[in-house]
């Protein structure tokens, strides 16, 4: 059972705004979905280890960097808010 308060909390955590009507609909949907996945409670897995990927920490050597600022222009083209070559954001409180 997921409450309106929890929905609001989730919306804040995920930074996804929700109008009241949307929040209400979402609450109903999530209750429905959580009920559906609650089936997992029955699974007997106490002896099982978590699934881990077989490949771990596949890293390349720290060498051969690309030329500095090679991609900057093309990337900056898509930045919605910029000033003097900087990506502009509002102040973090």
């Amino acid at each position: 059972m997921i409450t309106k308060k929890e929905i609001k909390k989730l919306s804040e955590l995920a930074r996804v705004g929700l109008a009241d009507s949307e929040a209400e609909k979402l609450q109903k949907d999530l209750v429905n979905i959580l009920d559906f996945i609650s089936k997992l409670k029955e699974a007997q897995v106490s002896e099982i280890e978590e699934e881990m990927p077989e490949l771990r920490n596949v890293l390349r050597d720290d060498e051969s960097p690309h030329e500095s600022a090679e991609n900057t222009a093309i990337l900056m083209k898509q930045v919605p808010d910029q000033e003097k070559g900087y990506v502009k954001v509002k102040k973090i409180r």
């Binding site: 705004g17 999530l30 699974a43 897995v45 898509q78 930045v79 990506v87 409180r93």
Partner: protein
């Protein structure tokens, strides 16, 4: 010299032959598909954009052929790309308002490989937003209709890619599959669709949905065409650390005595029920396929994979969890849709509210929930353990059988709007396809007969699963089935 080509009978090999011996030029070939696109798109809406440089691409290939240069099997072949794979300079929106005007700044690994083969990219296809959905109804830009029945969905999330091939708008296409998003629309649209073993195809340049589940794969009309494209796009990529170069799989393959396992949880051979309500025609078609294979000399074994009953639940915990993480990058700061608020928090809230559709929001919040303090162990950790259990069960089962068979979906394509009210109903469409993603196993959907619904013939699909890295088995059995059934 233009000759009339029967597009519906065309394959990559046939097209290649005709191009090589000058019967037809790449531009002419493309023009046939463009004509079909013009005719069918107003109804189908398989594409979000038809690239205006397609003829330019085709001309380059024609030049090469004219100069006597040897070109690859795939040269000049018109291919459509799902709208979540980056092509430099082209818009790429993932079916979302969030990226409606985003322009890709690099080529996805698969695009790089296919460019080397001189394929012609026809356009980007419609999809459920950020690959979340089973019908393409969650696209921010309208749904794609099923070529067999305008009132029904093409499936999803790669609905556009499936419909484009079925509608003869291109010879083949690429899609992505996280929970069945290639195989299910392939089944709904009557084409071949395949999901490789996790790690066989690089995900660099594929917009991530669920990183441990996503794979890119081909759609085509024949198994051989799917195999040709798979071979062109597979391979270890240093820039995708989840890719592998498998040790050569040389396992013997013979139809005679091939052990085919049918999971009773998916397809009870005695029609007694099973996990999903299987449509009567789908059941009949699957049974006929099984009988055919039995008569061909295969050994049909009923197998049991009890942990399958948890696969849907595990998937709908793990996938939203990964989605909530992967979609956190869409914040309107560096690219994409932006809607400002009164402060930084407001910027995020408004941007993500405005940019994401309902299904995407639903899954992000669900993922946030299952990963949050107090719930993490009960949901996410448990689901990871269930995932391990399912993988172990499949490992065991593949000691007894060589291939696992089931219907691809419990029903043929449903009507548009039918499953939008209850998300869980939509999720059930993935019940047979999800295990291949959870385990990383390769799987293919083959067209297998039709279902009669409201006086219309709707395709149904047969799914084959093979052990890890044994795509070869899927192709060999698939070709045998295709040619002899």
């Amino acid at each position: 010299m233009i000759m009339q080509i029967d597009l519906s009978g065309l394959t990559i090999k046939k097209a290649h032959e005709s191009l090589q011996n000058g019967e037809i030029s790449c531009c002419e070939l493309l023009s046939f598909y463009q004509a079909n696109i013009k005719k069918r798109e107003p109804d189908l809406h398989a594409f979000l954009e038809i690239f205006d440089d397609a003829y330019e691409q085709a001309e380059k290939v024609d030049e090469k052929i004219k100069n006597g240069q040897k070109v690859s099997m795939l040269a000049g072949i018109p291919l459509a790309i799902k709208d979540n794979m980056l092509i430099t300079g082209k818009k790429c929106s993932a079916g979302s308002k969030m990226l409606e005007n985003y322009t890709a700044v690099y080529d996805a690994a698969v695009i790089e490989k296919l460019k080397k083969e001189d394929l012609v990219f026809v356009g980007r296809t419609n999809m459920d937003e950020f690959a979340m959905g089973s019908s393409t109804e969650h696209s921010a830009f309208g749904l794609t209709k099923n070529p067999y029945d305008k009132e029904r969905v093409a499936g999803g999330s790669s609905g556009g890619s499936a419909a484009a091939v079925a509608g003869q708008e291109c010879l083949a296409s690429l899609g992505s599959d996280t929970g069945g998003s290639i195989r299910q629309p392939a089944a709904f649209c009557g084409v071949v669709g395949m999901k490789p073993t996790y790690g066989m195809v690089s995900r660099r340049g594929l917009m991530a949905m669920a990183s441990s589940l996503d794979q890119i794969g081909p759609f085509a009309k024949t198994v051989e065409d799917v195999e040709i494209i798979f071979n062109a796009i597979k391979g270890r990529d240093p820039a995708d650390s989840t890719t592998v170069e498998p040790s050569i799989q040389n396992s013997k393959f013979e139809i005679k005595n091939l052990r085919i396992g049918v999971p009773m949880e998916f397809f009870p051979l005695d029609a007694s029920g099973g996990m999903a309500g299987i449509d009567a025609d789908v059941y009949k078609n699957t049974q006929q396929a099984i009988d055919f294979l039995k008569n061909a000399g295969c050994e049909i074994k009923e197998i049991s994979i009890p942990s399958l009953e948890y696969s849907l639940a595990a998937y709908y915990i793990l996938m939203p969890a990964e989605v909530s993480s992967n979609l956190s990058r869409y914040d309107g700061i560096r690219y994409g849709f932006k809607k400002g608020g009164k402060d930084l928090f407001g910027d995020y809230i408004n941007t993500r509210e405005g940019g994401f559709g309902r299904e995407a929001s639903r899954r992000i919040l669900l993922g946030t929930y299952v990963l949050s303090a107090g719930y993490y162990d009960a949901y996410y950790t448990k689901a990871q353990k269930v995932r391990r259990l399912i993988r172990d069960d499949f490992k065991k089962v593949f000691n007894e059988v060589d291939i696992i068979l089931s219907p691809t979906t419990p029903t043929p394509a449903f009507k548009a709007g039918e499953r939008m009210a209850d998300p869980v109903e939509m999720y059930m469409a993935d019940i047979f396809t999800i295990p291949a993603n959870l385990t990383g196993l390769p799987a293919i959907s083959l067209p297998n007969g039709f279902c009669e619904k409201d006086g219309k013939r709707l395709p149904s699909g047969l799914q084959l699963m093979a052990p890890w890295f044994e795509e070869g088995r899927l192709f060999r059995l698939g070709k045998y089935f295709e040619n002899n059934f």
